[in-house]
């Protein structure tokens, strides 16, 4: 077999791919912010007694967990404008961010719900007995404790999000994967281009994982014996 992995090509193509890291990270981070906000709201809905809201949250979570990411992106970007012309103004990056954020919110809602459940009931009781309002209790005591329990799962969700931004190329967004694909079809060096972009994803996630470890260590301080 003729092995001819062209390392020099990989190094040559790397800067072109790296140039698109900002758009990849931009999509991932904004989508994550949306996902955390919606996911938290959904998880808190289960703490209320509003039957209708709980039902709506159930439907949301069920739907967005079930629909494949790609189907959802096509639905938003290519489907919605047909029904509602106002969506023709939606650019591909925004569509990708919305799609990614809405979907991951469903997964985060489940992670947050479990994280809230893992905070002992006595913590809230102590807050209320101490005269705090429920809002104060959640902000000062319950959320910080739940956050620590939610972090590992939330980190996994963010890693999925980073990787799923590659699907945005199907909407015409040029991010690191799309760039690698274009480089590959110019040079016919498919393996090298895709291997390079694979390594770039790996590097991004290694860096992120390291950052998460630091955050975990920080949040763990109160619980170290």
């Amino acid at each position: 077999m003729d092995m001819n992995l062209d390392f020099s090509y990989m190094i040559e193509v790397l800067p072109a791919i790296l140039k698109y890291i900002p758009i990849t990270l931009f999509m991932a981070i904004i989508a994550m912010i949306i996902a955390v906000a919606i996911g938290l709201a959904l998880a808190l809905v289960y703490k209320t007694n509003f039957k209708i809201l709980i039902y709506a949250a159930n439907v949301y979570i069920s739907f967005f967990r079930a629909i494949p990411m790609l189907v959802q992106l096509f639905l938003i970007y290519y489907g919605l404008p047909q029904l509602f012309p106002v969506f023709t103004k939606l650019d591909a990056v925004t569509a990708a961010i919305i799609g990614l954020g809405f979907k991951q919110a469903a997964f985060l809602a489940e992670i947050f719900r479990a994280a809230f459940a893992s905070v002992e009931k006595g913590q809230l009781e102590a807050c209320l007995a101490g005269g705090m309002s429920k809002f104060q209790a959640y902000r000062r005591i319950i959320l910080p404790q739940a956050l620590r329990n939610a972090l590992p799962g939330t980190g996994n969700t963010f890693i999925s999000l980073i990787k799923e931004t590659s699907l945005a190329f199907t909407l015409g967004v040029v991010e690191i994967f799309a760039e690698a694909k274009m480089q590959a079809s110019n040079s016919f060096r498919y393996f090298e281009a895709y291997l390079t972009v694979a390594l770039v994803y790996w590097a991004i996630i290694v860096v992120y994982t390291y950052v998460q470890k630091l955050i975990e260590k920080y949040l763990d301080r109160p619980y170290k014996t």
């Binding site: 006595g122 007995a129 005269g131 309002s133 170290k224 014996t225």
Partner: protein, 251 residues
């Protein structure tokens, strides 16, 4: 200064409190005793509305809550008059000992942080734990955690401190340090209601005893008379049982 009138509480079909009435004066210590399942913990948890009674009136100082029509304001007012020490301490796990004590001061009473810290340190020293100011709950023994939680309760300057079996979760060798702190509070004439299984302690510290069984107050009275001269058969039997149990442990 604390008056409970005809308090009724049920969990579904289970009637836990079947019309409880009693009264205590400022500076008094009331011990609530009785077999498990008698409703004593539920009763004390109704007093700050952690449990929601269906009927009855709770009056503490100038706070008044009618369980049939409680308003958010009534509940908040009632809670501002009470503090609670829990069986499982329930210290805020993400806060240090000092922060646990100052949390309500800062968040609820809006005390400036420096002043709150000063008050917090004084309270920690009252329970003998100044040195633990920066420790998180998980690094402290059960007895230390319970003492911090007593300091936290004192910080609220409540009209009454509610103790829900404060020593039941503690290892035997740690019980005394907590009881000792509570005795000190009794000497300072701090009003307290204590649900407890520690009969010797109740006898020594309480001014008043309530004996509960099956959701009723079976007997109540001044502590000395209560133990020396119980009227009801049920009470006598309970006192006998408890006393012989503690003798058993000595043997």
């Amino acid at each position: 200064m604390l008056k409970v009138t005809n308090l009724v509480k049920s969990f579904g079909a289970l009637d836990v409190l079947k019309g409880i009435s009693f009264e205590i004066k400022q500076g008094e210590v009331l011990a609530i005793i009785g077999p498990s399942g008698s409703g004593k913990s539920t009763l004390i948890r109704c007093l700050n509305y952690l449990e929601q009674p269906q009927q009855g009136i709770i009056e503490i100082d100038n706070a008044r809550l009618d369980a049939a029509k409680p308003t958010k304001k009534d509940i908040q007012h009632l809670r501002s008059k009470t503090a609670m020490v829990f069986q499982n301490y329930n210290l805020y796990k993400n806060k240090t000992a000092l922060e646990n004590v100052t949390e309500s001061l800062i968040v609820v009473k809006k005390t400036p942080k420096a002043e709150a810290n000063k008050m917090g340190m004084q309270l920690l020293s009252e329970v003998g734990l100044e040195a633990k100011r920066d420790n998180y709950p998980v690094t402290m023994s059960g007895g230390q955690q319970q003492r911090v939680s007593i300091a936290r309760a004192l910080a609220q300057k409540p009209h009454v401190i509610l103790f829900d079996e404060p020593t039941s979760s503690l290892d035997p060798e740690l019980v005394q340090e907590v009881l000792h702190v509570i005795k000190k509070l009794a000497e300072q004439k701090i009003t307290m209601i204590i649900v407890t299984h520690e009969m010797d302690f109740a006898r020594e510290v309480a001014d008043h005893i309530i004996f509960m069984a099956d959701g009723h107050i079976v007997e109540q009275g001044p502590a000395k008379e209560f133990f020396a001269n119980a009227q009801q058969e049920r009470t006598k039997k309970f006192i006998r049982q408890i006393t012989s149990e503690s003798e058993d442990t000595i043997l």
